[in-house]
């Protein structure tokens, strides 16, 4: 990306860009010099990938944490999507009860902090139903992001022109088929970009599950730091890993969008 950026811009822009980089590097070097911080980057790769006694490559603690973060995020993402879809349909349905249930869920989730929801599920609900921390984490994340996803999906559904419903109905299609073949396919195409934003939020928010004794990426970073005091190196690395994940999701969806576009 940087390469393309430099190639395409004028020399003046390149100079501005180099100046900007220079300032950033100077600030970091100066501040670390002031703190007398002893950078030990060479120790970081061992926490990503290391060798066992017999020489085989084994994942380091950061990578193991990352795997768990990915697992939690993917499962929560799928669940959040379905929760969001069902909640959106509930809110748009003509049933008073369905609307009420959706409304209460949305207000509860959107007006309380995620951390508190996580604690309530982990400390209050999970002992009652005997569910493990992993499931508590997935439940909390998908309920939280599902609420936001539902508002995005609902917005997408209401943006479908009335004429689409009318022509579907006038062909004799029932409500379920109209949603399934006419409304939802068009909605999903419209809401894919904002839903991606929500997926990125979910991955970032998943860092909070480290508070309920789950060894995700954040928790792995924390534990390494408490043993080694590599505070800067590890946090920078952890942040970079999150960044790579979220940016690649956005890029992937962007490509997907471009490929499956029909002209309207």
């Amino acid at each position: 990306m940087i390469m393309i950026f430099v190639r395409k811009t004028t020399i003046i822009d390149s100079i501005k860009y180099l100046l900007f980089l220079g300032v950033i590097i100077t600030i970091i070097t100066l501040s670390s010099a002031n703190m007398n911080y002893n950078w030990q980057w060479y120790r970081v790769p061992g926490y990503i990938i290391s060798r066992s006694a017999d020489g085989a490559l084994i994942p380091g603690r950061l990578l193991t944490g990352l795997a768990l973060t990915v697992k939690i995020s993917v499962i929560s993402l799928v669940l959040a999507f379905f929760i969001g879809m069902i909640t959106a349909l509930f809110r748009l349905s003509s049933s008073f009860t369905a609307k009420l249930v959706a409304r209460i869920y949305l207000e509860l989730i959107r007006n309380t902090p995620l951390l508190i929801q996580l604690f309530v599920i982990y400390f209050v609900i999970s002992p009652v139903f005997n569910i493990n921390p992993f499931i508590s984490a997935v439940l909390a994340l998908s309920l939280f992001e599902g609420a936001y996803a539902s508002e995005i999906i609902r917005g997408g559904i209401t943006a479908i022109p009335k004429g689409q419903w009318e022509s579907a109905y006038s062909l004799g299609l029932n409500t379920i088929d109209t949603y399934r073949f006419i409304v939802l396919p068009q909605t999903l195409k419209q809401v894919l970009p904002p839903l991606t934003g929500q997926a990125v939020s979910l991955i970032k928010d998943s860092a909070l599950v480290s508070t309920i004794a789950i060894f995700d990426l954040t928790m792995a970073g924390q534990s390494i730091i408490s043993e080694t005091f590599l505070t800067f190196e590890i946090w920078f690395t952890v942040a970079l890993i999150y960044l790579v994940m979220t940016v690649s999701i956005s890029a992937f969806v962007h490509r997907l969008e471009k490929r499956s576009r029909y002209d309207q």
Binding site: G163, Y169, G172, L173, F181, I182, D263, Q264
Partner: protein, 251 residues
């Protein structure tokens, strides 16, 4: 004409509520009319006369306040099943085409045949090809609506409705969004349909179509049917002042 009407409307009333009594709009007022098989009923009148609302009541896109509508012996009431049953038998073509933009022409036409009429894939394909031939756009079967002109889109929309093999076709200002060349392509398709004996209720401003293909004129004003006459009688000798005034403006 058969003795029993295919559409029977009795004392139909429809008011659009406003925030207060003064803002209420009476769209359809005490409309009673019977339509028989094979008739091409052309509904005309000034804008705001309630023509489209009357049409939209006929397939339950609009609810009515009082009165009754019976189509093909099925009363259109709060029973959802009746409504679906009537919609199977009543096709509708809209001013804005309303094709499904994410589907090809083939998919647009065959969706309801497959889902509602439960025909096999092979039957759907035959129906689709036949109807595209009928409306004269066989080469666009794999195109998306956005790749078609307005006139082509409207002809696909007509084919889509016909695919359900309806007993009645409703046209709601089907040519109002088109330019003159496209208007005539769509009108030709409609005239052929009329010739084939399709029962049609057509809301339009095309007086030429009304004269040529229509069998009956309903002239509406302020929600009421002012005149219900045979086409030739209406154009030669309108009874009411309101119809005379309207005709003098549009012809």
């Amino acid at each position: 004409m058969t003795s029993k009407p295919i559409i029977s409307i009795t004392d139909l009333n429809k008011t659009f509520p406003g925030s207060n009594k003064d803002l209420e709009v009476i769209a359809v007022k005490d409309v009673t009319v019977d339509i028989y098989q094979g008739e091409v009923v052309v509904v005309i009148g000034p804008s705001g006369a309630g023509k489209s609302t009357l049409l939209r009541c006929l397939n339950g896109l609009e609810d009515f306040d009082s009165g009754s509508i019976i189509i093909d012996n099925i009363p259109l009431n709060h029973h959802h099943k009746n409504r679906l049953e009537i919609r199977k038998e009543v096709g509708m073509v809209f001013q804005s085409f309303n094709l499904f933009p994410h589907m090809t022409v083939r998919e647009n036409i065959s969706l309801a045949v497959r889902r509602v009429r439960k025909k096999s894939l092979a039957e759907c394909e035959t129906i689709t090809v036949d109807l595209l031939e009928k409306v004269g756009i066989t080469d666009k079967i794999d195109s998306y609506p956005s790749q078609l002109s307005g006139g082509q889109q409207q002809r696909v929309a007509i084919a889509r409705s016909l695919a359900m093999n309806p007993k009645v076709m409703l046209f709601d200002e089907a040519t109002s969004a088109l330019d003159p060349v496209m208007i005539s392509e769509v009108l030709d398709v409609m005239k052929n349909l009329a010739k084939d004996g399709m029962t049609m209720v057509v809301v339009t401003h095309e007086m030429g179509f009304a004269r040529e293909a229509g069998s009956r004129i309903l002239f509406m004003d302020n929600g009421e049917i002012v005149e219900d006459r045979k086409v030739e009688d209406f154009f030669l000798d309108p009874n009411e002042d309101r119809s005379k005034a309207f005709l003098s403006k549009v012809i």
